[in-house]
């Protein structure tokens, strides 16, 4: 933590962690109280032996009360300045730093999401979800004592991302919880949960008062947030002092992260436009009539998986990666790693054309054609001047870059018909030619990012088509 001595940092962290753990203890205490009062007490297991002839059961209420007590003890320890006890062990932090990188992060988050999806019936159980929820907060609290972690997470403009992650975890659980119940009900021939509360009620007072309470709560929350966390204000703007790293606002960092794999014209212009167009196209492409107005996964598995892949897996995890784990020179830094501007990472990525011509065929790269090399073509000078860039570009595209061009054209033009004839035959028949082609191309654009990631990681592939002369790299 720059500018703070170790002691000052400990003071700062413990003044944060004390209330933090107390809040977590209260959260678990309230959960226990709620379960007890609403008669949802469940015996999870029995203690061995018996007292007075009665077996002693450990109920969920007891467990969450114990968890609350653990947090209360943590509050006492961390709040009194003993932050070294209430933190992750050094070796674990080292291990996490050393084992993480863009590959582990991306593959790992995909694996986690896939496991959560496949075993959602298990993970949405309130007790399991509540345990994971507690672990997430505990992990955050234990990590906060690390100065490098604190530095990044507690940066005022990064706080919303931490909130976003927790909110998404909660709401994804809520939606999946209801979807799992609905899917079971539908399988049993029952209507979804949403159908049960079918009676009409008056908007005044039920809805109007709910809105009023929401507004007051939100205002209180905003004022609290505004008092607790000052808005950032760095030194005055200077066009000569470039900060390292220079980052866009956090909600665009998924796009900035794509710059690792794509040139700006793709990552900054084409793909965002495709995202917007794709979002707008969703209602016109999704021909599935089911799942309108209630949570379900089984009734609309395809659209669910595609959306979650795009939203949670691509958009959100890339934002988290770009904001919290990308440091100076856009290098990857582990969560407990110091952002060292001098960290050097070898960049020896190779273009496909270099692979083919130089390494494969042992030739030098073919150059571009130009009318100046072909004086025998009887064209007026003004016309050749106009046509020359076109000739250069296309001779590079179908000459030097032919392998990549064929691959990309095959991907975007030949693959959709193949999809229509094989895996997506049913889709094609129901959607018709135009709608199917639009959907196929949107899907292929979306899939191109993970494909390029894997090509980069496995083959150090830089570009499939590399025509830097015309800023055309793909």
């Amino acid at each position: 933590m720059h500018g703070l001595s170790e002691l000052q940092f400990q003071d700062l962290v413990s003044s944060f962690l004390g209330p933090y753990y107390i809040a977590l203890a209260l959260m678990n205490g309230l959960a226990a109280l709620y379960l007890w009062r609403s008669g949802q007490t469940k015996a999870w297991f029995n203690l061995p032996g018996s007292i007075g002839g009665k077996r002693v059961a450990i109920t969920n209420v007891v467990v969450w009360l114990l968890v609350a007590m653990v947090f209360a003890v943590l509050a006492a320890i961390a709040g009194s300045g003993n932050t070294s006890i209430a933190s992750l062990p050094e070796w674990l932090r080292e291990a996490i730093n050393n084992s993480t990188g863009p590959v582990v992060y991306s593959v790992g988050s995909s694996a986690v999401l896939i496991i959560l999806y496949l075993f959602r019936g298990f993970f949405v159980r309130p007790a399991i979800a509540w345990a994971i929820w507690n672990l997430m907060w505990l992990f955050l609290g234990l990590s906060m004592t690390d100065p490098d972690f604190y530095d990044i997470v507690a940066k005022p403009d990064n706080v919303p991302i931490v909130m976003l992650v927790f909110l998404l975890a909660f709401f994804t659980w809520l939606a999946t919880y209801r979807a799992v119940i609905n899917d079971e009900r539908i399988a049993n021939g029952e209507p979804p949960l949403e159908k049960l509360d079918d009676e009409k009620i008056l908007v005044w007072p039920d809805l109007v008062y709910t809105e009023l309470i929401c507004m007051i709560a939100l205002t209180a929350f905003l004022i609290f947030w505004a008092i607790a966390l000052p808005a950032p204000l760095e030194e005055a703007a200077s066009s000569v002092k470039t900060p390292n790293p220079s980052k866009a606002p956090w909600y665009f960092l998924g796009l900035q992260e794509m710059l690792v794999y794509y040139d700006p014209w793709m990552a900054g212009v084409v793909l965002p436009s495709m995202i917007v167009a794709g979002l707008m196209a969703i209602p016109y492409l999704d021909f599935n009539k089911k799942g309108n107005g209630y949570y379900t996964i089984k009734e609309r598995q395809f659209s669910y998986i595609v959306f979650q892949f795009g939203f949670l897996e691509m958009w959100i995890t890339l934002i988290v990666l770009g904001t919290l784990l990308r440091g100076p020179n856009w290098n990857f830094f582990g969560p407990y790693e110091h952002w060292d501007a001098h960290k050097v990472e070898a960049l020896n990525n190779v273009n496909l054309s270099e692979y083919v011509w130089q390494r494969g065929l042992n030739m030098s790269l073919p150059g571009a054609l130009s009318f100046s090399d072909m004086p025998w073509i009887p064209l007026p000078a003004w016309l050749t001047a106009f046509l020359n860039p076109f000739l250069q570009f296309f001779s590079l595209l179908f000459g030097r870059e032919l392998p990549g061009t064929l691959l990309v054209l095959g991907y975007f033009i030949a693959l959709p018909p193949v999809m229509a004839l094989t895996v997506f035959r049913g889709f094609y028949q129901r959607m018709g030619f135009i709608r199917f082609m639009i959907m196929a191309n949107l899907l292929l654009f979306m899939a191109s990012l993970p494909i390029k990631m894997v090509l980069r990681w496995v083959f150090q592939l830089k570009y499939l088509i590399a025509i830097p002369e015309f800023f055309f790299n793909f």
Partner: protein
């Protein structure tokens, strides 16, 4: 001695504003929704599940409320802020250090971040409940435009404090426009657009220039972003919000199983 509240409610002024008795019985609870301008956005009655927080998450409403918070705090902040290179940074410093209402800036900034998050959560909920399906397809499209405008509002506002964070975030973000195909001076196809051997798309005529009003983030950009942030985009949002809410009602109210 007549009751004061009753006196007020019996007065001509009160009755000219509220043309019905207090909404304590069924009839007047219906009438209040129909006769009040602010409430007539709502239907009179609604299915019980339509207001269950576990179904709606209230995120659309929260987003709208945050938009109102941003409007009010934004107008107040405009009193204290001059969008010039000379004054912008100092004015924000004054808000932080001197003015007693400086906390407005915090509310405005955190409200803006929160609004981006709640828009996403709202769309997340709408997707997961399949609420974009017929007959609500077009309202989803309007919603995507609102998402775009929300991001642009946040993006243009990011520049206004005129500190290092602001200027470089906007520089990084707007550098992308340089690479717009055909329309950016470092975009693919730019070389193909020439007129008599002279490039038509240069750093003084490309998409980035249109966004920044200059070759670099500077005085012109600050002015441009200020106007976009305070006038142009909010007006667009207000119009689309009106359409969005109106369509919610016209498309059959909040979604639910048929």
């Amino acid at each position: 001695m007549p009751d004061l509240g009753e006196t007020i409610r019996e007065s001509q002024i009160w009755k000219s504003i509220f043309r019905h008795p207090m909404p304590v019985d069924r009839r007047n609870r219906i009438v209040v929704m129909l006769t009040n301008f602010f409430l007539h956005l709502h239907p009179v009655s609604i299915k019980k599940q339509g207001i269950a927080l576990s179904y709606t998450w209230c995120m659309g409403g929260v987003t709208f409320f945050l938009f109102l918070v941003e409007t009010v705090t934004g107008v107040l902040l405009m009193f204290y802020y001059r969008p010039t290179v000379e004054w912008a940074y100092t004015d924000i410093q004054m808000l932080r250090d001197v003015h007693s209402l400086g906390i407005l800036r915090e509310i405005h900034r955190w409200g803006a971040h929160a609004m981006v998050i709640t828009v996403w959560l709202h769309m997340y909920r709408v997707f997961l409940t399949g609420s974009y399906k017929p007959p609500r397809e077009f309202n989803w499209v309007v919603g995507v435009f609102l998402l775009l405008l929300t991001l642009l509002l946040s993006f243009t506002g990011y520049l206004l404090p005129w500190d290092q964070l602001a200027v470089w975030a906007i520089t990084v973000g707007s550098n992308m426009a340089r690479a717009t195909p055909f329309l950016g001076h470092e975009g693919p196809g730019q070389q193909l657009l020439t007129l008599g051997g002279v490039d038509m798309i240069t750093n003084a005529s490309d998409a980035r220039f249109a966004l920044l009003g200059a070759r670099e983030v500077g005085e012109e950009t600050l002015n441009r972003f200020y106007i976009l942030h305070c006038i142009a985009i909010p007006l667009g949002v207000a119009l689309l919000l009106a359409i969005h809410f109106w369509r919610v009602r016209k498309d059959g109210g909040i979604s639910g199983p048929l």
